[in-house]
Protein backbone atom coordinates (compact mmCIF):
# COMPACT_ATOMS: atom_id res chain seq x y z
CA UNK A 1 0.00 0.00 0.00
CA UNK A 2 2.67 2.44 1.03
CA UNK A 3 4.80 1.83 -2.09
CA UNK A 4 2.42 3.92 -4.18
CA UNK A 5 2.59 6.86 -1.80
CA UNK A 6 5.60 9.12 -2.23
CA UNK A 7 7.22 11.24 0.46
CA UNK A 8 5.84 14.47 -0.99
CA UNK A 9 2.33 13.01 -1.16
CA UNK A 10 2.59 12.05 2.51
CA UNK A 11 3.87 15.52 3.33
CA UNK A 12 0.92 17.13 1.56
CA UNK A 13 -1.57 14.92 3.38
CA UNK A 14 0.00 16.01 6.65
CA UNK A 15 -0.05 19.75 5.99
CA UNK A 16 -3.33 19.76 4.08
CA UNK A 17 -5.20 17.37 6.34
CA UNK A 18 -3.82 18.90 9.53
CA UNK A 19 -4.74 22.44 8.49
CA UNK A 20 -8.20 21.35 7.37
CA UNK A 21 -8.88 19.59 10.70
CA UNK A 22 -7.55 22.54 12.66
CA UNK A 23 -9.76 25.04 10.79
CA UNK A 24 -12.92 22.99 11.38
CA UNK A 25 -11.93 22.63 15.02
CA UNK A 26 -11.48 26.39 15.43
CA UNK A 27 -14.81 27.12 13.76
CA UNK A 28 -16.64 24.64 15.99
CA UNK A 29 -14.86 26.05 19.05
CA UNK A 30 -16.36 29.47 18.33
CA UNK A 31 -19.81 27.94 17.96
CA UNK A 32 -19.48 25.91 21.17
CA UNK A 33 -18.33 28.93 23.17
CA UNK A 34 -21.37 30.72 21.82
CA UNK A 35 -23.73 27.91 22.92
CA UNK A 36 -22.32 27.10 26.36
CA UNK A 37 -23.93 30.01 28.27
CA UNK A 38 -27.41 28.82 27.27
CA UNK A 39 -26.72 25.11 27.73
CA UNK A 40 -25.29 25.74 31.20
CA UNK A 41 -27.92 28.32 32.28
CA UNK A 42 -25.27 30.95 32.86
CA UNK A 43 -27.99 33.42 33.92
CA UNK A 44 -28.44 31.36 37.10
CA UNK A 45 -24.71 31.42 37.88
CA UNK A 46 -24.94 33.47 41.07
CA UNK A 47 -22.02 34.74 43.15
CA UNK A 48 -22.56 31.80 45.46
CA UNK A 49 -22.23 29.36 42.54
CA UNK A 50 -18.95 30.99 41.49
CA UNK A 51 -17.71 30.92 45.09
CA UNK A 52 -18.66 27.24 45.25
CA UNK A 53 -16.61 26.47 42.14
CA UNK A 54 -13.61 28.23 43.69
CA UNK A 55 -14.01 26.07 46.84
CA UNK A 56 -14.35 22.96 44.69
CA UNK A 57 -10.95 23.81 43.17
CA UNK A 58 -9.29 25.06 46.34
CA UNK A 59 -9.96 21.76 48.10
CA UNK A 60 -9.09 19.63 45.07
CA UNK A 61 -12.43 17.80 45.19
CA UNK A 62 -11.79 16.48 41.67
CA UNK A 63 -8.87 14.49 43.12
CA UNK A 64 -11.38 11.89 44.42
CA UNK A 65 -14.78 12.65 42.82
CA UNK A 66 -15.96 12.91 39.25
CA UNK A 67 -18.08 15.88 38.20
CA UNK A 68 -19.98 15.37 34.94
CA UNK A 69 -17.85 12.26 34.49
CA UNK A 70 -14.45 13.92 34.78
CA UNK A 71 -12.06 13.59 37.66
CA UNK A 72 -10.93 10.69 39.83
CA UNK A 73 -12.96 7.52 40.25
CA UNK A 74 -12.37 7.04 43.98
CA UNK A 75 -15.58 8.69 45.16
CA UNK A 76 -19.11 9.18 43.76
CA UNK A 77 -20.15 11.29 40.78
CA UNK A 78 -21.53 14.62 41.99
CA UNK A 79 -23.34 16.06 38.97
CA UNK A 80 -26.59 14.44 40.10
CA UNK A 81 -25.95 14.29 43.86
CA UNK A 82 -28.63 16.99 44.15
CA UNK A 83 -31.20 14.57 42.75
CA UNK A 84 -29.76 11.51 44.51
CA UNK A 85 -29.30 12.87 48.03
CA UNK A 86 -31.47 15.98 47.94
CA UNK A 87 -34.43 14.61 45.94
CA UNK A 88 -34.17 17.83 43.87
CA UNK A 89 -35.23 19.90 46.87
CA UNK A 90 -32.90 22.86 47.42
CA UNK A 91 -33.61 23.42 51.12
CA UNK A 92 -33.41 19.72 51.91
CA UNK A 93 -30.18 19.30 49.93
CA UNK A 94 -28.52 22.22 51.69
CA UNK A 95 -29.41 20.76 55.09
CA UNK A 96 -28.13 17.38 54.02
CA UNK A 97 -24.84 18.92 52.82
CA UNK A 98 -24.32 20.78 56.14
CA UNK A 99 -24.72 17.54 58.05
CA UNK A 100 -22.66 15.49 55.62
CA UNK A 101 -19.67 17.85 55.45
CA UNK A 102 -19.62 18.23 59.26
CA UNK A 103 -19.55 14.48 59.89
CA UNK A 104 -16.47 13.72 57.77
CA UNK A 105 -14.45 11.57 58.04
CA UNK A 106 -17.00 8.84 58.79
CA UNK A 107 -15.91 6.43 61.49
CA UNK A 108 -16.43 3.21 59.51
CA UNK A 109 -13.36 0.96 59.48
CA UNK A 110 -11.70 0.63 56.06
CA UNK A 111 -14.39 2.56 54.22
CA UNK A 112 -12.81 5.10 51.85
CA UNK A 113 -12.45 8.31 53.79
CA UNK A 114 -13.32 11.89 52.92
CA UNK A 115 -11.15 14.38 54.83
CA UNK A 116 -12.63 17.06 57.12
CA UNK A 117 -12.25 20.35 55.21
CA UNK A 118 -13.38 22.65 58.06
CA UNK A 119 -15.61 24.77 55.82
CA UNK A 120 -17.89 27.45 57.28
CA UNK A 121 -21.67 27.05 56.95
CA UNK A 122 -21.67 29.71 54.27
CA UNK A 123 -18.96 27.89 52.31
CA UNK A 124 -20.93 24.63 52.44
CA UNK A 125 -23.95 26.53 51.09
CA UNK A 126 -21.77 27.87 48.27
CA UNK A 127 -20.75 24.31 47.41
CA UNK A 128 -24.39 23.22 47.46
CA UNK A 129 -25.37 26.08 45.14
CA UNK A 130 -22.54 25.14 42.80
CA UNK A 131 -23.66 21.48 42.71
CA UNK A 132 -27.32 22.45 42.22
CA UNK A 133 -26.34 24.69 39.29
CA UNK A 134 -24.17 21.91 37.82
CA UNK A 135 -27.01 19.38 38.07
CA UNK A 136 -29.05 21.49 35.63
CA UNK A 137 -26.45 21.68 32.86
CA UNK A 138 -27.56 20.17 29.55
CA UNK A 139 -25.05 17.32 29.21
CA UNK A 140 -26.88 15.41 26.45
CA UNK A 141 -28.90 13.21 28.86
CA UNK A 142 -25.90 12.16 30.91
CA UNK A 143 -25.66 10.59 33.54
CA UNK A 144 -27.71 7.56 32.46
CA UNK A 145 -29.09 6.76 35.94
CA UNK A 146 -29.57 8.39 39.31
CA UNK A 147 -26.60 6.42 40.70
CA UNK A 148 -24.25 8.25 38.31
Amino acid sequence: MTERITKSMAKNIYYGGGTFALLIFIALTFDTVHQIPERSNEVNMTESVVAGKALWEKNNCVGCHTLIGEGAYYAPELMNVFQRRGASDEVGFKMYMQGWMASQPLDIPNRRKMPQFNLTNEEVDNLSDFLIWTSKVNANEWPPTIEG
Binding site: M45, K58, I68, F117, W142, P144, T145
Partner: protein, 455 residues
Amino acid sequence: MKYSSQAVAKPYFTFALILLAGEILFGLLMAIQYIYGDFLFPLIPFNVLRMVHTNLLIVLILFGFMGATYYLIPEEAERELWSPKLAIVTFWVFLVAGVATILGYLFVPYAQLTELTFNNLLPTMGREFLEQPLPTKVGIVIVVLSYLLNVVMTVLKGRKTVITTVLITGLLGLALFFLFAFYVPDNLIMDKFFWWFTVHLWVEATWELILGAILAFVLIKTTGVDREHIDKWLYLIIAMTMISGILGTGHHFFYMGAPEYWLWIGSISSAVEPLPFFLMILFAFTMTRERKIQHDNEIALTWAKGTAVMGFLGAGVWGFFHTLAPVNMFTHGTQLTAAHGHLSFYGAYIMIIFTIISYAMPILRGRPHGNCKKAQKRELTSFWMMNIGMLGLTLALSAAGIVQILDQRVGTELLGFMESQESIAGIYMVRAGFGLLVFSGLITYFTSFFIKEEA
Protein backbone atom coordinates in the same frame (compact mmCIF):
# COMPACT_ATOMS: atom_id res chain seq x y z
CA MET B 1 28.60 9.98 20.78
CA LYS B 2 29.28 12.26 17.84
CA TYR B 3 28.85 15.63 19.58
CA SER B 4 30.00 16.32 23.12
CA SER B 5 26.95 18.48 23.89
CA GLN B 6 24.73 15.39 23.54
CA ALA B 7 25.96 14.49 27.02
CA VAL B 8 23.46 16.94 28.58
CA ALA B 9 20.79 14.32 27.85
CA LYS B 10 22.20 12.02 30.54
CA PRO B 11 20.94 13.83 33.69
CA TYR B 12 17.52 14.25 32.04
CA PHE B 13 17.26 10.51 31.38
CA THR B 14 18.48 9.58 34.85
CA PHE B 15 16.07 11.89 36.60
CA ALA B 16 13.14 10.80 34.40
CA LEU B 17 13.76 7.22 35.53
CA ILE B 18 13.94 8.21 39.21
CA LEU B 19 10.62 10.05 38.85
CA LEU B 20 9.14 6.98 37.15
CA ALA B 21 10.03 4.88 40.19
CA GLY B 22 8.29 7.47 42.40
CA GLU B 23 5.28 7.55 40.11
CA ILE B 24 4.78 3.79 40.23
CA LEU B 25 5.37 3.71 43.99
CA PHE B 26 2.57 6.23 44.55
CA GLY B 27 0.41 4.24 42.16
CA LEU B 28 0.90 1.20 44.40
CA LEU B 29 -0.03 3.22 47.50
CA MET B 30 -3.24 4.31 45.76
CA ALA B 31 -3.98 0.73 44.73
CA ILE B 32 -3.78 -0.25 48.42
CA GLN B 33 -5.92 2.70 49.59
CA TYR B 34 -8.52 1.68 47.01
CA ILE B 35 -9.01 -1.55 48.95
CA TYR B 36 -8.24 -0.44 52.52
CA GLY B 37 -9.67 3.04 52.95
CA ASP B 38 -7.84 3.58 56.23
CA PHE B 39 -4.40 2.98 54.70
CA LEU B 40 -2.33 6.19 55.07
CA PHE B 41 -5.45 8.17 56.04
CA PRO B 42 -5.46 10.96 57.17
CA LEU B 43 -1.69 11.21 56.66
CA ILE B 44 -1.96 11.23 52.84
CA PRO B 45 -5.56 11.43 51.55
CA PHE B 46 -6.32 9.89 48.16
CA ASN B 47 -6.42 13.17 46.25
CA VAL B 48 -2.84 13.91 47.32
CA LEU B 49 -1.58 10.46 46.33
CA ARG B 50 -3.24 10.86 42.97
CA MET B 51 -1.87 14.33 42.40
CA VAL B 52 1.66 13.09 43.09
CA HIS B 53 1.10 10.04 40.86
CA THR B 54 -0.21 11.97 37.84
CA ASN B 55 2.03 15.02 38.18
CA LEU B 56 5.15 12.84 38.44
CA LEU B 57 4.01 11.13 35.23
CA ILE B 58 3.66 14.39 33.34
CA VAL B 59 6.95 15.79 34.61
CA LEU B 60 8.87 12.59 33.93
CA ILE B 61 7.59 12.48 30.36
CA LEU B 62 8.69 16.10 29.87
CA PHE B 63 12.15 15.23 31.28
CA GLY B 64 12.25 12.23 28.94
CA PHE B 65 11.27 14.33 25.90
CA MET B 66 13.90 16.92 26.78
CA GLY B 67 16.61 14.29 27.21
CA ALA B 68 15.59 12.69 23.92
CA THR B 69 15.64 16.02 22.12
CA TYR B 70 19.02 17.09 23.47
CA TYR B 71 20.42 13.75 22.41
CA LEU B 72 19.02 13.61 18.89
CA ILE B 73 19.03 17.26 17.83
CA PRO B 74 22.84 17.63 17.54
CA GLU B 75 23.05 14.46 15.43
CA GLU B 76 20.19 15.52 13.20
CA ALA B 77 21.36 19.15 12.86
CA GLU B 78 24.99 17.98 12.54
CA ARG B 79 26.33 20.53 14.98
CA GLU B 80 26.77 21.04 18.70
CA LEU B 81 23.82 22.18 20.77
CA TRP B 82 23.33 25.96 20.70
CA SER B 83 23.84 26.23 24.46
CA PRO B 84 24.63 23.14 26.53
CA LYS B 85 24.95 25.43 29.55
CA LEU B 86 21.35 26.61 29.18
CA ALA B 87 20.24 22.98 28.94
CA ILE B 88 21.95 22.19 32.25
CA VAL B 89 20.59 25.30 33.98
CA THR B 90 17.09 24.39 32.73
CA PHE B 91 17.56 20.89 34.10
CA TRP B 92 18.25 22.16 37.61
CA VAL B 93 15.49 24.77 37.54
CA PHE B 94 12.97 22.12 36.45
CA LEU B 95 14.28 19.62 39.01
CA VAL B 96 14.04 22.07 41.91
CA ALA B 97 10.59 23.29 40.84
CA GLY B 98 9.36 19.72 40.40
CA VAL B 99 10.67 18.45 43.72
CA ALA B 100 9.40 21.53 45.59
CA THR B 101 5.94 21.07 44.09
CA ILE B 102 5.75 17.40 45.08
CA LEU B 103 6.94 18.21 48.62
CA GLY B 104 4.33 20.97 48.76
CA TYR B 105 1.60 18.46 47.82
CA LEU B 106 2.79 16.01 50.45
CA PHE B 107 3.42 18.32 53.40
CA VAL B 108 1.01 21.25 53.00
CA PRO B 109 -2.79 20.80 52.95
CA TYR B 110 -3.92 21.67 49.42
CA ALA B 111 -6.24 24.54 50.45
CA GLN B 112 -3.34 26.10 52.36
CA LEU B 113 -1.03 25.56 49.39
CA THR B 114 -3.38 27.58 47.17
CA GLU B 115 -3.14 30.46 49.66
CA LEU B 116 0.65 30.28 49.98
CA THR B 117 1.20 30.30 46.23
CA PHE B 118 -0.91 33.30 45.20
CA ASN B 119 -3.70 31.27 43.64
CA ASN B 120 -6.09 34.10 44.56
CA LEU B 121 -4.25 36.40 42.11
CA LEU B 122 -4.85 34.07 39.18
CA PRO B 123 -6.78 30.93 40.15
CA THR B 124 -5.46 27.98 38.15
CA MET B 125 -5.25 25.21 40.76
CA GLY B 126 -7.52 22.31 41.69
CA ARG B 127 -8.18 21.05 38.18
CA GLU B 128 -7.30 17.49 37.22
CA PHE B 129 -3.63 17.15 36.10
CA LEU B 130 -3.20 20.93 36.26
CA GLU B 131 -3.06 21.08 40.06
CA GLN B 132 0.36 22.77 40.09
CA PRO B 133 0.70 26.03 42.02
CA LEU B 134 1.00 29.21 39.94
CA PRO B 135 4.79 29.59 40.44
CA THR B 136 5.29 26.01 39.17
CA LYS B 137 3.12 26.67 36.12
CA VAL B 138 5.10 29.83 35.36
CA GLY B 139 8.29 27.80 35.90
CA ILE B 140 7.11 25.20 33.39
CA VAL B 141 6.53 27.94 30.81
CA ILE B 142 10.03 29.37 31.36
CA VAL B 143 11.65 25.92 31.20
CA VAL B 144 9.76 24.96 28.04
CA LEU B 145 10.54 28.27 26.32
CA SER B 146 14.27 28.06 27.05
CA TYR B 147 14.25 24.44 25.87
CA LEU B 148 12.46 25.45 22.69
CA LEU B 149 14.89 28.32 22.14
CA ASN B 150 17.85 25.96 22.49
CA VAL B 151 16.41 23.45 20.04
CA VAL B 152 15.29 26.02 17.47
CA MET B 153 18.63 27.87 17.52
CA THR B 154 20.52 24.61 17.03
CA VAL B 155 18.36 23.56 14.10
CA LEU B 156 18.36 27.01 12.46
CA LYS B 157 22.15 26.95 12.31
CA GLY B 158 22.37 23.34 11.24
CA ARG B 159 20.88 20.72 8.96
CA LYS B 160 17.09 20.65 8.79
CA THR B 161 15.53 17.22 8.56
CA VAL B 162 11.95 15.97 8.61
CA ILE B 163 12.60 14.63 12.11
CA THR B 164 13.69 18.04 13.45
CA THR B 165 10.76 19.80 11.76
CA VAL B 166 8.22 17.37 13.19
CA LEU B 167 9.85 17.51 16.62
CA ILE B 168 9.83 21.30 16.71
CA THR B 169 6.21 21.43 15.53
CA GLY B 170 5.33 19.10 18.41
CA LEU B 171 7.27 21.19 20.92
CA LEU B 172 5.66 24.43 19.71
CA GLY B 173 2.25 22.81 20.12
CA LEU B 174 3.19 21.60 23.58
CA ALA B 175 4.18 25.13 24.62
CA LEU B 176 1.17 26.78 23.00
CA PHE B 177 -1.51 24.46 24.39
CA PHE B 178 -0.09 24.62 27.91
CA LEU B 179 -1.14 28.28 27.97
CA PHE B 180 -4.77 27.14 28.33
CA ALA B 181 -3.76 25.96 31.82
CA PHE B 182 -3.85 29.64 32.82
CA TYR B 183 -7.40 30.19 31.59
CA VAL B 184 -9.98 29.30 34.22
CA PRO B 185 -13.42 30.78 33.47
CA ASP B 186 -16.07 30.95 36.24
CA ASN B 187 -18.42 28.85 34.16
CA LEU B 188 -17.56 25.20 34.89
CA ILE B 189 -18.55 24.05 31.40
CA MET B 190 -16.43 26.67 29.64
CA ASP B 191 -13.63 25.72 32.04
CA LYS B 192 -13.92 22.02 31.17
CA PHE B 193 -14.08 22.79 27.46
CA PHE B 194 -10.79 24.70 27.38
CA TRP B 195 -9.13 22.40 29.92
CA TRP B 196 -9.16 19.75 27.20
CA PHE B 197 -7.18 22.08 24.92
CA THR B 198 -4.21 21.43 27.16
CA VAL B 199 -4.96 17.86 28.17
CA HIS B 200 -6.20 16.27 24.94
CA LEU B 201 -4.19 18.31 22.47
CA TRP B 202 -1.06 17.42 24.40
CA VAL B 203 -1.53 13.67 24.62
CA GLU B 204 -3.48 12.96 21.47
CA ALA B 205 -1.90 15.45 19.08
CA THR B 206 1.32 17.35 19.81
CA TRP B 207 2.98 14.70 21.98
CA GLU B 208 2.34 12.15 19.24
CA LEU B 209 4.46 14.27 16.89
CA ILE B 210 7.29 14.16 19.42
CA LEU B 211 6.78 10.42 19.84
CA GLY B 212 6.87 9.90 16.06
CA ALA B 213 10.07 11.92 15.68
CA ILE B 214 11.88 10.00 18.44
CA LEU B 215 10.71 6.66 17.06
CA ALA B 216 11.86 7.58 13.54
CA PHE B 217 15.29 8.63 14.87
CA VAL B 218 15.84 5.37 16.75
CA LEU B 219 14.67 3.33 13.75
CA ILE B 220 17.10 5.12 11.42
CA LYS B 221 19.95 4.44 13.83
CA THR B 222 19.18 0.83 14.63
CA THR B 223 18.03 -0.42 11.21
CA GLY B 224 20.10 1.71 8.85
CA VAL B 225 17.08 2.11 6.55
CA ASP B 226 17.23 4.97 4.07
CA ARG B 227 16.09 8.27 5.57
CA GLU B 228 13.79 9.12 2.63
CA HIS B 229 11.84 5.97 3.33
CA ILE B 230 11.59 6.67 7.07
CA ASP B 231 10.49 10.26 6.40
CA LYS B 232 7.59 9.11 4.26
CA TRP B 233 6.34 6.85 7.02
CA LEU B 234 6.73 9.59 9.61
CA TYR B 235 4.67 12.01 7.51
CA LEU B 236 1.94 9.42 7.00
CA ILE B 237 1.75 8.65 10.72
CA ILE B 238 1.58 12.26 11.84
CA ALA B 239 -0.86 13.12 9.05
CA MET B 240 -3.28 10.51 10.44
CA THR B 241 -2.54 11.78 13.97
CA MET B 242 -3.47 15.35 13.12
CA ILE B 243 -6.51 14.52 11.01
CA SER B 244 -7.99 12.21 13.65
CA GLY B 245 -6.53 13.70 16.82
CA ILE B 246 -7.54 17.36 16.53
CA LEU B 247 -11.23 16.77 15.84
CA GLY B 248 -10.99 13.68 18.06
CA THR B 249 -10.96 16.14 20.97
CA GLY B 250 -14.69 15.96 20.38
CA HIS B 251 -14.91 12.59 22.16
CA HIS B 252 -14.42 14.51 25.40
CA PHE B 253 -17.28 16.88 24.57
CA PHE B 254 -20.06 14.26 24.40
CA TYR B 255 -21.41 14.55 27.93
CA MET B 256 -20.03 17.64 29.61
CA GLY B 257 -22.31 20.43 28.45
CA ALA B 258 -21.07 21.00 24.88
CA PRO B 259 -23.45 20.92 21.86
CA GLU B 260 -24.82 17.70 20.30
CA TYR B 261 -22.82 17.86 17.07
CA TRP B 262 -19.74 16.76 18.99
CA LEU B 263 -21.43 13.35 19.42
CA TRP B 264 -20.99 12.80 15.67
CA ILE B 265 -17.74 14.65 15.10
CA GLY B 266 -16.06 13.12 18.12
CA SER B 267 -17.22 9.60 17.33
CA ILE B 268 -16.22 9.68 13.66
CA SER B 269 -12.82 11.34 14.10
CA SER B 270 -11.77 9.32 17.05
CA ALA B 271 -12.78 6.09 15.35
CA VAL B 272 -9.82 6.93 13.09
CA GLU B 273 -7.47 7.56 16.04
CA PRO B 274 -6.19 3.94 16.22
CA LEU B 275 -4.94 4.28 12.62
CA PRO B 276 -1.73 6.28 13.29
CA PHE B 277 -0.81 3.76 15.98
CA PHE B 278 -1.50 0.88 13.62
CA LEU B 279 0.73 2.57 11.03
CA MET B 280 3.38 2.83 13.74
CA ILE B 281 3.32 -0.96 14.14
CA LEU B 282 3.66 -1.44 10.37
CA PHE B 283 6.43 1.17 10.38
CA ALA B 284 8.49 -0.44 13.15
CA PHE B 285 8.14 -4.00 11.86
CA THR B 286 8.64 -3.11 8.18
CA MET B 287 11.79 -1.12 8.96
CA THR B 288 13.08 -4.02 11.06
CA ARG B 289 12.47 -6.45 8.21
CA GLU B 290 14.15 -4.18 5.67
CA ARG B 291 17.06 -3.30 7.92
CA LYS B 292 20.44 -2.67 6.32
CA ILE B 293 22.54 -3.12 9.45
CA GLN B 294 22.56 -5.53 12.35
CA HIS B 295 22.95 -3.19 15.32
CA ASP B 296 24.46 -4.82 18.41
CA ASN B 297 22.00 -2.92 20.61
CA GLU B 298 19.13 -5.28 19.87
CA ILE B 299 17.10 -4.34 22.92
CA ALA B 300 16.67 -0.74 21.70
CA LEU B 301 14.88 -2.05 18.61
CA THR B 302 12.79 -4.35 20.82
CA TRP B 303 11.63 -1.33 22.83
CA ALA B 304 10.83 0.55 19.60
CA LYS B 305 8.64 -2.29 18.36
CA GLY B 306 7.11 -2.61 21.83
CA THR B 307 6.20 1.09 21.83
CA ALA B 308 4.29 0.69 18.59
CA VAL B 309 2.42 -2.41 19.75
CA MET B 310 1.61 -1.26 23.28
CA GLY B 311 0.77 2.26 22.06
CA PHE B 312 -1.66 0.73 19.59
CA LEU B 313 -3.26 -1.43 22.28
CA GLY B 314 -3.47 1.32 24.91
CA ALA B 315 -4.28 4.38 22.85
CA GLY B 316 -5.83 2.69 19.82
CA VAL B 317 -7.75 -0.37 20.97
CA TRP B 318 -8.59 0.69 24.53
CA GLY B 319 -9.41 4.17 23.30
CA PHE B 320 -11.75 2.79 20.65
CA PHE B 321 -13.61 0.63 23.20
CA HIS B 322 -15.34 3.66 24.67
CA THR B 323 -14.97 6.38 22.06
CA LEU B 324 -18.31 5.97 20.28
CA ALA B 325 -20.91 8.26 21.83
CA PRO B 326 -23.62 5.64 22.57
CA VAL B 327 -21.04 3.47 24.36
CA ASN B 328 -19.45 6.42 26.11
CA MET B 329 -22.85 7.27 27.61
CA PHE B 330 -22.31 4.22 29.86
CA THR B 331 -18.52 4.22 30.22
CA HIS B 332 -17.96 7.96 30.84
CA GLY B 333 -16.43 8.49 34.26
CA THR B 334 -15.79 4.81 35.08
CA GLN B 335 -12.69 2.67 35.62
CA LEU B 336 -12.66 1.99 31.86
CA THR B 337 -11.30 5.49 31.41
CA ALA B 338 -8.62 4.69 33.97
CA ALA B 339 -7.79 1.45 32.13
CA HIS B 340 -7.33 3.31 28.84
CA GLY B 341 -5.32 6.06 30.55
CA HIS B 342 -2.89 3.62 32.12
CA LEU B 343 -2.13 1.53 29.04
CA SER B 344 -1.95 4.46 26.63
CA PHE B 345 0.41 6.56 28.73
CA TYR B 346 2.60 3.55 29.35
CA GLY B 347 2.49 2.13 25.83
CA ALA B 348 3.02 5.36 23.96
CA TYR B 349 4.98 7.68 26.21
CA ILE B 350 6.77 5.68 28.88
CA MET B 351 7.88 3.11 26.32
CA ILE B 352 9.22 5.68 23.84
CA ILE B 353 11.30 7.05 26.71
CA PHE B 354 12.59 3.54 27.46
CA THR B 355 13.32 3.23 23.72
CA ILE B 356 15.46 6.34 23.47
CA ILE B 357 17.17 5.65 26.81
CA SER B 358 17.90 2.09 25.77
CA TYR B 359 19.48 3.36 22.55
CA ALA B 360 21.23 6.50 23.80
CA MET B 361 22.29 5.72 27.36
CA PRO B 362 24.89 3.05 26.46
CA ILE B 363 26.42 5.48 23.94
CA LEU B 364 26.45 8.26 26.55
CA ARG B 365 28.21 5.81 28.87
CA GLY B 366 30.91 5.03 26.28
CA ARG B 367 29.39 1.82 24.88
CA PRO B 368 28.68 2.58 21.18
CA HIS B 369 27.60 -1.00 20.49
CA GLY B 370 25.07 -1.07 23.29
CA ASN B 371 25.27 -2.85 26.60
CA CYS B 372 26.75 -6.33 26.89
CA LYS B 373 24.59 -9.35 26.09
CA LYS B 374 23.99 -10.12 29.76
CA ALA B 375 22.70 -6.60 30.47
CA GLN B 376 20.49 -6.69 27.38
CA LYS B 377 19.06 -10.00 28.50
CA ARG B 378 18.21 -8.51 31.89
CA GLU B 379 16.60 -5.55 30.15
CA LEU B 380 14.51 -7.92 28.06
CA THR B 381 13.28 -9.64 31.23
CA SER B 382 12.23 -6.26 32.62
CA PHE B 383 10.55 -5.43 29.28
CA TRP B 384 8.26 -8.45 29.61
CA MET B 385 7.63 -7.96 33.33
CA MET B 386 6.51 -4.37 32.80
CA ASN B 387 4.47 -5.14 29.69
CA ILE B 388 2.67 -8.09 31.25
CA GLY B 389 2.17 -6.11 34.46
CA MET B 390 0.64 -3.17 32.61
CA LEU B 391 -1.58 -5.40 30.47
CA GLY B 392 -2.79 -7.29 33.56
CA LEU B 393 -3.45 -4.07 35.40
CA THR B 394 -5.37 -2.68 32.43
CA LEU B 395 -7.49 -5.83 32.08
CA ALA B 396 -8.29 -5.67 35.80
CA LEU B 397 -9.32 -2.00 35.57
CA SER B 398 -11.43 -2.81 32.49
CA ALA B 399 -13.20 -5.59 34.37
CA ALA B 400 -13.76 -3.18 37.27
CA GLY B 401 -15.25 -0.66 34.85
CA ILE B 402 -17.62 -3.21 33.33
CA VAL B 403 -18.85 -4.36 36.76
CA GLN B 404 -19.29 -0.73 37.75
CA ILE B 405 -21.45 -0.08 34.67
CA LEU B 406 -23.58 -3.19 35.26
CA ASP B 407 -24.03 -2.26 38.95
CA GLN B 408 -24.78 1.43 38.62
CA ARG B 409 -26.04 2.02 35.12
CA VAL B 410 -27.82 -1.01 33.64
CA GLY B 411 -31.10 -2.61 34.68
CA THR B 412 -33.58 -1.66 37.35
CA GLU B 413 -31.95 -2.80 40.59
CA LEU B 414 -29.11 -0.36 40.75
CA LEU B 415 -26.33 -0.30 43.31
CA GLY B 416 -24.87 2.92 44.68
CA PHE B 417 -21.26 3.88 43.95
CA MET B 418 -19.83 2.78 47.30
CA GLU B 419 -21.62 -0.61 47.31
CA SER B 420 -20.55 -1.21 43.73
CA GLN B 421 -16.95 -0.42 44.67
CA GLU B 422 -17.12 -2.95 47.51
CA SER B 423 -18.22 -5.60 45.05
CA ILE B 424 -15.15 -4.81 42.96
CA ALA B 425 -12.62 -5.13 45.82
CA GLY B 426 -11.35 -8.51 44.59
CA ILE B 427 -10.58 -7.10 41.15
CA TYR B 428 -8.74 -4.20 42.76
CA MET B 429 -6.52 -6.76 44.55
CA VAL B 430 -5.62 -8.26 41.17
CA ARG B 431 -4.85 -4.77 39.91
CA ALA B 432 -2.52 -4.14 42.85
CA GLY B 433 -0.77 -7.45 42.19
CA PHE B 434 -0.04 -6.57 38.57
CA GLY B 435 1.08 -3.12 39.72
CA LEU B 436 3.63 -4.82 41.93
CA LEU B 437 4.84 -6.79 38.90
CA VAL B 438 5.35 -3.52 36.99
CA PHE B 439 7.35 -2.10 39.91
CA SER B 440 9.48 -5.27 40.14
CA GLY B 441 10.05 -4.98 36.40
CA LEU B 442 11.31 -1.44 36.81
CA ILE B 443 13.70 -2.49 39.59
CA THR B 444 14.94 -5.32 37.34
CA TYR B 445 15.45 -2.74 34.60
CA PHE B 446 17.47 -0.55 36.97
CA THR B 447 19.75 -3.46 37.90
CA SER B 448 20.62 -3.92 34.21
CA PHE B 449 22.49 -0.60 34.40
CA PHE B 450 24.90 -2.04 36.95
CA ILE B 451 25.92 -5.19 35.08
CA LYS B 452 29.66 -4.93 34.41
CA GLU B 453 30.87 -5.00 30.81
CA GLU B 454 32.61 -8.19 29.78
CA ALA B 455 36.34 -7.57 29.48
